[in-house]
């Protein structure tokens, strides 16, 4: 039995979280959610029709036994993100928020300064905050200090499917963190997810690689299996790697000659 993942006071069996953007229909999104066995999905507040009671995305998600994690995509600074989080809490009856502040609309790279500010405000206001950030170990510790419930460092630019370009920094973050580390953006293939889990990430969040696939349900299943496989590998402990065969002691052989 694998160890469970705890975020705030909530326990998750599955360590794979899903994004809900980019699907070509609500139906394909639902099939992917089912196949992934995920227990938490994130939805951009800006995509939800809060006035209507039959919002297409929301209606489908709320019928499933998954936790809804609203996100603040679209916010350019702390003030906008805080407003959005408060609105989401009121409208969707959840104090969980995925904090996304990317003032740069091209690469959607997170603003560390505004994120730290918003995190502090929201944590004090009782939110369970999961911030999307650069793979910056110092920022992760600073976020921990202001009361964030998990950190979500990126593997590579969002939507790029480029894998774990930030691998070395993710290792440091995982080593130092006392709160769950969820690798968020850039995971393009099941093997990327497995690698993230093998190095000790607590969970991964995948969107583009599943939503843009020609078979979202099948790839979602593959991601689910890879996440489990990677986690088991981590828990079992990976055998150390050697780049070459162990040399026949060229440096210490002399000891045999001088000591009988």
């Amino acid at each position: 039995m694998q160890n469970m993942l705890n975020i705030a006071d909530h326990t998750f069996d599955s360590r794979l979280f899903l994004g809900t953007g980019k699907f070509n229909s609500a139906q394909s999104m639902c099939q992917a959610i089912d196949a992934s066995r995920t227990q938490m999905v994130t939805v951009a507040l800006k995509r939800i029709d809060l006035d209507s009671h039959n919002d297409d995305i929301l209606e489908h998600i709320q019928r499933k036994a998954v936790r809804l994690l609203p996100n603040t995509a679209g916010a350019r600074n702390a003030k906008e993100a805080v407003l959005a989080a408060q609105l989401a809490r009121e409208a969707l009856q959840t104090n969980w928020i995925k904090l996304e502040i990317h003032p740069d609309p091209r690469y959607l790279l997170p603003d560390p300064i505004e994120t730290l500010l918003a995190c502090e405000i929201l944590a004090k206001d009782g939110f369970i905050v999961l911030p999307y950030i650069h793979a910056d170990p110092v920022l992760c510790k600073r976020l921990e200090e202001v009361g964030t419930s998990a950190v979500m460092p990126l593997g590579s630019p969002i939507g790029s499917n480029s894998g774990l370009k930030t691998l070395d920094f993710l290792r440091i973050i995982i080593e130092q963190s006392t709160i769950p580390v969820i690798v968020d953006a850039g995971i393009g293939s099941p093997s990327d997810a497995a690698l993230a889990m093998e190095i000790g990430a607590d969970a991964v969040l995948v969107n583009t690689a599943i939503a843009s696939s020609s078979n979202p349900a099948l790839i979602a299943d593959a991601f689910a299996m890879a996440t489990i496989a990677g986690r088991k590998g981590f828990e079992a402990g990976l055998a150390p790697r050697y780049n070459k065969a162990v040399a026949s002691s060229p440096f210490t052989k002399f000891l045999q000659q001088i000591t009988p």
């Binding site: 953007g21 980019k22 699907f23 070509n24 229909s25 609500a26 951009a44 507040l45 800006k46 995509r47 939800i48 029709d49 679209g74 916010a75 350019r76 600074n77 702390a78 003030k79 906008e80 407003l83 959005a84 609105l87 003032p103 740069d104 609309p105 091209r106 690469y107 505004e114 500010l117 918003a118 939507g159 499917n161 583009t208 939503a211 843009s212």
Partner: protein, 377 residues
């Protein structure tokens, strides 16, 4: 003195770009296609006649990049024409002051009726449009209109005359999310001929409008040229140059490109430069290959079959069931339109076509709370 796009444009001569375009070889095109990141020179290669035989390859690459970046989604919006009053002479436009059409400016109750009609069709993103008659239809009128409909539409864009920086700031405070302003042509001399009278005849003031919008902190700027006025290839090169400058300068702003192709309008002249549908596909794909993150928008000027295929090769946003006359949705459906609509199908039919193509129509992709906070906390 602060830098504006004038400083960049002044370094270029129309004829030099034309010459550069004429010298593009097959190798230039193939190299451009092979790259991961493409420069402005690559963009020029991809819109050149030499690249025309590569249109299928370009479309396939564009399709993939678009799906990766935007998902299989198409954003939908509708224009709401507030007024056809105009003090400009634009030789190609149905609203031109020398055109003997009946002028109409919607009153606040009429704006509300039109807005509710558009909302009942399903739209949550509205584009407010007017001619240029600043005395009657100025920034105060637009602010009032935007405020009035802010409960009806989460996303409000505007396409009106160029305004001052303060005006744009005031518009952002009433949740205006995007401003569309088309240069029409970057050919300075030709611009004067097409716009002989009115405030619009001031090329430089129009050219610097995206700078003012950027400084005011508006979230999104839409650019474009009137395709068919001058050589569309050269005008599109300058549009791309403009976008590149803006992205570096106002990096928090999102950019969109529209593709208004000259269509017949009452009392207006025929286009000078012909642009075929094939050319238009090539241009759209070239923009996508150049900058995968650009929003690319298509109006109902284009005909049905073209629009049904547009999501597949790179378009990310479309209007539907549009009326281009003030009051056209319900107040006064019979009045004269600014340009002829080619795709007159209902919203329901268009949505079905989008779904049939394997794409999801997106009605809402904005939260008004994001519109008016200052840029720095």
């Amino acid at each position: 003195m602060e830098r504006t796009f004038n400083d960049i444009l002044d370094k270029y001569e129309w004829e030099d770009v034309k010459e550069k375009l004429a010298k593009i070889t097959k190798d230039d095109v193939v190299n451009a296609l092979r790259k991961d990141k493409r420069s402005l020179t690559d963009f020029l290669a991809l819109i050149s006649p030499v690249a025309a035989p590569y249109i299928e390859t370009m479309a396939a690459m564009s399709s993939e990049l678009t799906a990766q970046r935007f998902g299989k989604n198409i954003q939908l919006y509708a224009p709401l024409y507030l007024s056809n009053e105009c003090n400009n002479i634009c030789t190609y436009c149905g609203f031109s002051v020398d055109n003997g059409i009946r002028r109409r400016t919607l009153s606040p109750p009429e704006i509300m009726i039109e807005a509710q009609t558009v909302r009942s069709m399903g739209f949550q993103h509205i584009l407010l449009v007017s001619g240029e008659a600043t005395q009657k239809v100025g920034v105060d009128y637009f602010i009032k209109a935007a405020r009035q409909i802010s409960d009806v539409f989460p996303q409000i864009s505007i396409e009106v005359q160029p305004l001052d920086q303060d005006d744009y700031h005031r518009l952002s405070e009433v949740n205006v999310n995007a401003v569309l302003v088309y240069q029409e042509t970057y050919h300075r001399q030709a611009y004067k001929t097409y716009h002989p009278k009115g405030k619009k005849s001031n090329f430089d003031y129009r050219l610097q409008t995206p700078d003012r919008i950027g400084k005011a902190g508006i979230h999104k700027v839409g650019l474009g040229v009137l395709l068919g006025l001058e050589d569309w290839r050269i005008d599109s090169f300058f549009t791309a140059l403009h976008i590149e400058y803006l992205q570096q300068t106002y990096w928090r702003t999102k950019y969109a490109v529209s593709f208004p192709r000259l269509r017949p309008a009452a009392g207006a002249a025929k286009p000078n430069f012909d642009m075929s549908e094939r050319d238009l596909v090539q241009l759209i794909c070239a923009y996508r290959l150049w900058h995968p993150d650009l929003e690319l928008s298509l109006s109902t000027r284009e005909h049905e079959a073209f629009r049904d295929h547009a999501p597949l090769f790179g378009i990310t946003s479309m209007s539907a069931a549009s009326k281009t006359n003030p009051g056209g949705y319900s107040v006064e459906p019979q009045s004269l339109e600014q340009f002829e609509i080619s795709d007159e199908r209902s919203v329901e039919v268009i949505i079905q076509k989008i779904r049939d193509a394997g794409y999801q129509p997106v009605w809402k992709d904005w939260q008004p709370e994001y519109a008016n906070a200052p840029l720095h906390t």
